[in-house]
């Protein structure tokens, strides 16, 4: 056990991320600033072709209502197409392994799961999906759901920073998010992953004959291409049931680092993009800093907790010098597992390289808390929007204390915005705690728990938290492929995604039309350390206090009673 090496590994990955934030953030700004730039020459013609193909003639600004409606309808159409394919995949092409049609409630759950960027999987990819479904439904949704999140962030940022009445054009934003950001990055990363031994093939399952003469089915498929967008799009649904702990999805420490960076880079860089749009880079860095502080705190907790290992094993004299390695891959170790867990739940990707169910109690508290906050980097786009919502809330509370009507980036925060923000902050605890309580009231819910006691509370709580935050990782101990879990988590994922998106686009739509209040010495500044502290305090007081009682009953009680 060498914590020095561990620290070095972690610092190197964080250092790499810091190198990416500025160039990628700037690039994303140029994509969506809609001002002529160099990348037009490469992507312009392709986009023109797409616009012509989809008959997009009117590319003007949209009001927030039209923007939100276009987004919802586009998502609806994609959902219906995908739902149809899942229900009929047996008869569709590219099904060399003869996989059957998906059960309706599971299809419902799966399609919502992927459309909402959650990628909660109540099925196992290798046995539940044909290659056609993997590529057309799963991979397509991985692109479109990530693009949806990104354009929401862009529209929200525009609402805060531009003058006028509209938030931009949804369709051009949506197309550009694919053509200029997600597709090029995914292609490059796929090739890199293939180079690092991740399989990419349409061949059927390989039959292997073991030395003892048994035959073994080894599932393969177009893994590398899925792997790249799975992380870039903060999606997280694995090709295989074992997700990124599977050696074909994540063969070695190098791919592990790449996957961490892939899922982290866009949410982190969007803070820089926000600074560019706000014409004040400090605004972006403050948001980034607050996210990073929370990130570092949670990473430390999970790392220390996993390193210390399980006190029960320690007392019975087992060798735990490696830390708690149950459910972890030896090729990654504690540091790479802890970092992966923290990144995948802060960026709400949901891909896992170790089993969160087997984390130590306080280690398991970390992914759960990060998803409950849902603002530490967060999923592509939505994480930033959530954090900015907290920023508005912080401004409202603290702004009053300087004796002025609170204003954020020169816009007054008034009852209309507060109403919409109220909806957005209410929905998160409601759809986590409500269904959790319901699950415990019925046998349908509590029957799925495989590990009763305090850990059982964590299992259920984790499932709904992961659904609500559109994360998708599971405390995999739960027997969750039942109509009850398929339907309830499906509804939670749906509400978790769209209620806050629509409400916050409404906030942006209202702010964009407001008069700008010029900045004076009497203005409450949102680009200094003091505000970082206020924002941090608001996130902790309002975001975290809500969940404290259940966390005490779940992981904290488990921790206290263990050993």
């Amino acid at each position: 056990m060498n914590w020095g090496m561990d620290l070095l590994q972690i610092v190197i990955v964080i250092g790499l991320l810091l190198l990416i934030v500025k160039p990628l953030g700037t690039y994303i700004y140029h994509i969506f600033s809609n001002e002529p730039n160099r990348s037009d020459r490469i992507f312009g013609p392709v986009e023109k072709g797409i616009f012509w193909l989809i008959g997009l003639k009117n590319r003007g600004d949209m009001s927030w209502k039209r923007y939100a409606l276009s987004l919802l309808l586009t998502n609806l159409v994609l959902t219906l197409v995908g739902f149809g394919i899942l229900l009929t995949q047996r008869w569709l092409p590219l099904n060399p392994n003869g996989i059957d049609n998906m059960e309706p409630t599971l299809s419902f759950n799966t399609i919502i799961s992927f459309m909402t960027n959650t990628n909660l999987q109540h099925y196992s990819g290798e046995s539940g999906l044909s290659y056609f479904s993997q590529m057309i439904v799963i991979m397509m949704m991985m692109f479109t759901s990530a693009a949806t999140g990104i354009v929401v962030a862009i529209a929200f940022i525009r609402g805060l920073t531009k003058k006028g009445t509209g938030l931009g054009n949804f369709f051009t934003d949506f197309v550009k998010a694919h053509t200029r950001l997600l597709i090029p990055m995914a292609i490059v990363m796929t090739l890199v992953l293939v180079g690092l031994q991740v399989p990419q093939t349409l061949d059927a399952t390989v039959q292997a004959h073991t030395v003892t003469g048994e035959t073994q089915q080894i599932a393969i498929g177009p893994v590398a291409s899925l792997e790249s967008i799975k992380h870039l799009g903060t999606n997280g649904g694995g090709f295989f049931g074992a997700n990124s702990s599977h050696p074909f999805e994540n063969p070695n420490p190098l791919t592990n680092v790449l996957e961490i960076l892939m899922m982290w880079c866009i949410p982190a860089s969007l803070t820089y993009t926000y600074g560019r749009f706000a014409r004040n880079q400090k605004q972006g860095w403050i948001v980034f800093a607050v996210m990073s502080i929370l990130f570092a705190a949670f990473l430390s907790l999970v790392y220390v907790s996993e390193t210390n290992g399980n006190p029960v094993l320690n007392t019975i004299g087992a060798d735990t010098s490696q830390g708690s390695m149950e459910g972890k891959e030896a090729r990654f170790g504690i540091a790479q597992s802890a970092l992966f867990t923290t990144v995948t739940t802060s960026a709400t990707t949901g891909t896992v390289n170790n089993m969160h169910d087997t984390l130590t109690p306080l280690g398991g508290l970390v992914p759960m808390s990060l998803m409950m906050l849902n603002v530490v980097f967060g999923g592509d786009g939505v994480g930033l929007v959530n954090m900015l919502m907290y920023a508005i809330l912080a401004v409202f509370l603290a702004g009053l204390m300087v004796g002025r009507t609170p204003e954020f980036l020169g816009r007054k925060i008034e009852p209309h915005e507060m109403k919409l923000i109220a909806i957005a902050i209410l929905v998160h605890p409601l759809i986590i705690l409500g269904p959790t309580a319901i699950a415990f009231l019925t046998d349908l819910g509590s029957g799925a728990i495989t590990n009763p006691g305090f850990h059982g509370i964590s299992q259920v709580l984790y499932e709904y938290t992961s659904s609500a935050a559109n994360n998708g990782s599971g405390f995999e101990g739960l027997a969750d492929n039942t109509p009850f879990w398929n339907m309830t988590t499906g509804i939670v994922m749906f509400l978790g995604r769209y209620v806050s998106i629509v409400a916050l686009l409404g906030v942006a739509g209202s702010l964009v039309r407001k008069k700008w209040v010029p900045e004076t010495i009497g203005t409450f500044r949102t680009d200094n350390k003091l505000f970082a502290g206020v924002l941090l305090g608001t996130v902790i007081l309002i975001g975290a206090l809500t969940f404290l009682p259940v966390l005490v009953l779940g992981p904290i009680a488990e921790f206290l009673t263990l050993g």
Partner: protein, 679 residues
């Protein structure tokens, strides 16, 4: 200012009696529902009462003593919140009652169409009626003087004991109902129907009857309701989840947790803060037409101030005497004084004052029986013809120069230069001459009121830009602007210019405040976000403005801005305090709830509270008594000193944020030490 500010003691026994009564009246759920946070507490109180009286109804394990105590503490929480609101209202009511007394039983001498006068009750007067008010009588309603001239005692409205002059026409024609004529007789045309007069509006405003929630108050209320609903979800879902691990949570315990977590502190004090804010404005003798106007004052970015009367005294005063030719200062001073001995104009008096102040002497016998010559527009000079035949004149340089030349005198060569220099500095030069000798120049200038510079400095620190409007030429305006320390000025301004400036500033997103009194100020007062009219001004100006200063002191707008800021700050500070309190309450209640079933939870009992029950009750008691403890703060407002937003925020965050986290840890621990003696 302080002389006119009638600081009343915070609470009188009458107000206290009224507030105690109202605390119970307001328990009525129909009234309570207007305050959703406290309504939830009242609902919880009711449920606990039922559980206490009929423990079997809910099948709950009856712990009569505990349930009864919870009920009592909850009831007091609601009563304390009601009391806070009632006491703020009570102060307004007391003021209103005093005003109502001035209103009652006035009879009016109404002029009949035929020409006779008939006595009618004041309440029967309608808009357009004409009344005659003689010496010693009460003016029966708001109106305009159409004939006559009288002095009027307005102390009932303004608190200012010196009577003011009112006459037909001009800017001093408006009179207010409820004031008394103390000399002469006037004819007044009534301008309001009954119930709409200034006095009526003032009564309903201070009573709080017309109180509407301001946008900021509504937004904050939404946040408070949201927090309440969130914690409602938290508490309601906790029971089934806890049951899974064998923890049975009783309803009174859950209600206690809920009440502790929802923002009752700010919820209970919110309306008191609003009412008290309006009240503070009223105590400065400013009548705000709405709470919105007071809050808008806190947001002001730009303030437009008239030079005359606001920044300067408004009359040019002697500030120096400059000899020309071979004359000495003593000589000029003496003759300047002699020429002004019977001069009743402010300029003339200021010359005498200056000469005395500077210690120059003059022989006043010389002017005995002299014939004084008043200033006339044609001659542009005034002075005296002495008995010894000498003639003394002072006046415009051109006029005096001509007069001296006419008498065969010689004009000193340095006169023109010295005169121009004074003019270029914004002053007014007055030449002084005796017979054929032109002796020197009196330097007259408008004087900035003392303390204005510091006030503009304060405004700058608040981030407020000041613009001075004046009819003076640009040079004069620049001098005064520099002397007073305003940020910008508009010279030779016409009433339209003010509106133009307001619109321009507003187009940049700024909020603008201005003061005014004349009818021609009315459009600008209406356009401004905060318009403060002078009570001495015309009805039109008062109608257009959203605040009226009863003392007619235009610089008071600065106080109004401070009050507006203080109001918002108090709200923010108490909200932060209230939310920050939750941390400690969690640490008190959560271990207490679970400790019986999960003994290991005791490590979370960081305060070392005596027993689970005592912990819950202590948190609940702290939650209740913090409301009355903070009433004085809610009424007075948090201390405000002009400083930059960042400094202000750090300071308030430290006191109310950090203080809000720490205070309940100490408070709950102390309460627990007592409570634990019994349980």
């Amino acid at each position: 200012m302080d002389s006119t500010m009638k600081r009343k003691s915070l609470i009188t026994s009458d107000i206290l009696k009224y507030a105690l009564g109202q605390s119970f009246v307001k328990l009525n759920p129909l009234i309570m529902i207007k305050n959703p946070v406290m309504f939830v507490v009242e609902l919880g109180t009711f449920i606990v009462l039922l559980l206490t009286l009929f423990p079997s109804v809910f099948g709950a394990e009856a712990n009569f003593g505990f349930n009864l105590t919870v009920f009592i503490v909850l009831l007091f929480t609601v009563l304390f919140a009601n009391f806070a609101e009632a006491i703020a209202e009570g102060r307004g009511k007391a003021q209103a009652n005093a005003l109502k007394q001035t209103k009652s039983d006035v009879t009016a001498n109404k002029v009949q169409p035929g020409g006779g006068v008939k006595q009618v009750p004041a309440t029967e007067l309608r808009k357009g009626d004409v009344v005659v008010v003689a010496m010693g009588e009460m003016i029966p309603g708001d109106g305009e003087v159409i004939a006559g001239l009288a002095t009027v005692d307005e102390s009932a409205i303004t608190g200012e004991s010196a009577p003011v002059m009112k006459e037909a026409g001009g800017d001093f024609s408006s009179v207010t109902g409820g004031t008394r004529v103390v000399s002469d007789q006037i004819k007044v045309r009534i301008t309001n129907d009954p119930g709409e007069s200034f006095l009526d509006r003032m009564i309903s405003l201070v009573e709080g009857a017309e109180r509407q929630k301001t946008p900021n108050e509504i937004a904050l209320n939404i946040l408070l309701i949201t927090l309440t609903v969130i914690f409602l979800i938290v508490v309601m879902t906790l029971a089934p989840i806890a049951k899974y691990v064998g923890v049975d949570l009783e309803i009174p315990v859950l209600i206690s947790l809920l009440v502790c977590l929802i923002p009752t502190t700010i919820g209970g004090l919110l309306s008191a803060i609003g009412i008290a804010g309006m009240d503070r404005v009223t105590q400065y003798n400013v009548l705000a037409m709405s709470g919105k106007a007071v809050e808008a004052a806190g947001d002001i970015n730009t303030m437009i101030l008239d030079k005359t009367g606001t920044i300067t005294f408004g009359n040019r005063m002697a500030s120096d005497i400059v000899p020309v030719g071979k004359a000495t200062v003593e000589e000029v001073s003496q003759w300047a004084a002699v020429s002004s001995m019977q001069d009743e104009t402010p300029e003339g008096r200021s010359v005498l004052e200056w000469v005395r102040k500077e210690g120059y002497t003059f022989d006043d016998k010389i002017a005995r029986n002299a014939e004084f010559i008043d200033f006339k527009a044609e001659t542009r000079m005034s002075g005296a013809d002495l008995t010894n035949g000498w003639k003394v004149r002072k006046g415009a340089i051109d006029a005096v120069k001509q007069w001296v030349l006419d008498q065969g005198g010689v004009i000193p060569a340095d006169l023109t230069d010295k005169g121009n220099k004074i003019a270029s500095e914004g002053g007014t030069p007055l030449a002084v001459a005796v017979n054929d000798r032109l002796l020197g120049i009196i330097y007259l200038k408008d004087t900035v009121k003392p303390g204005m510079r510091e006030r503009f400095e304060q405004l700058r620190r608040m981030g407020i830009k000041t613009i001075m409007c004046t009819g003076d030429n640009p040079l004069t305006a620049a001098t005064i602007a520099r002397e007073a320390g305003v940020d910008d000025f508009i010279a030779e301004s016409k009433p339209e210019d003010k509106i133009a400036v307001i619109r321009k500033e507003q187009a940049e997103g700024k909020l603008v405040a201005m003061t005014g009194d004349g009818t021609n100020d009315a459009p600008a007062l209406a356009q401004a976000d905060v318009g403060l009219a002078m009570n001495s001004g015309t009805i039109a100006a008062k109608e257009a403005a959203n605040m009226v200063d009863l003392d007619s002191d235009p610089s008071k707008i600065i106080e109004v801005v401070s009050i507006g800021k203080q109001l918002l700050m108090t709200r923010g500070a108490l909200t932060t305090f209230s939310v920050a309190n939750d941390v400690a309450k969690y640490f008190a209640i959560i271990p207490a709830m679970f400790m019986l079933a999960i003994p290991e939870m005791h490590v979370l009992n960081v305060m070392g509270l005596g027993s689970p029950m005592s912990a819950i009750l202590s948190a609940l008691i702290f939650n209740a008594i913090i409301i009355p403890l903070l009433i004085p703060l809610a009424m007075k407002g948090v201390a405000y000193r002009p400083m930059s937003a960042s400094k202000l925020l750090s300071r308030n965050l430290l006191i109310y944020g950090l203080g809000g986290v720490i205070a309940p840890f100490i408070g709950i621990k102390v309460i627990d030490l007592f409570v634990h003696i019994w349980i």
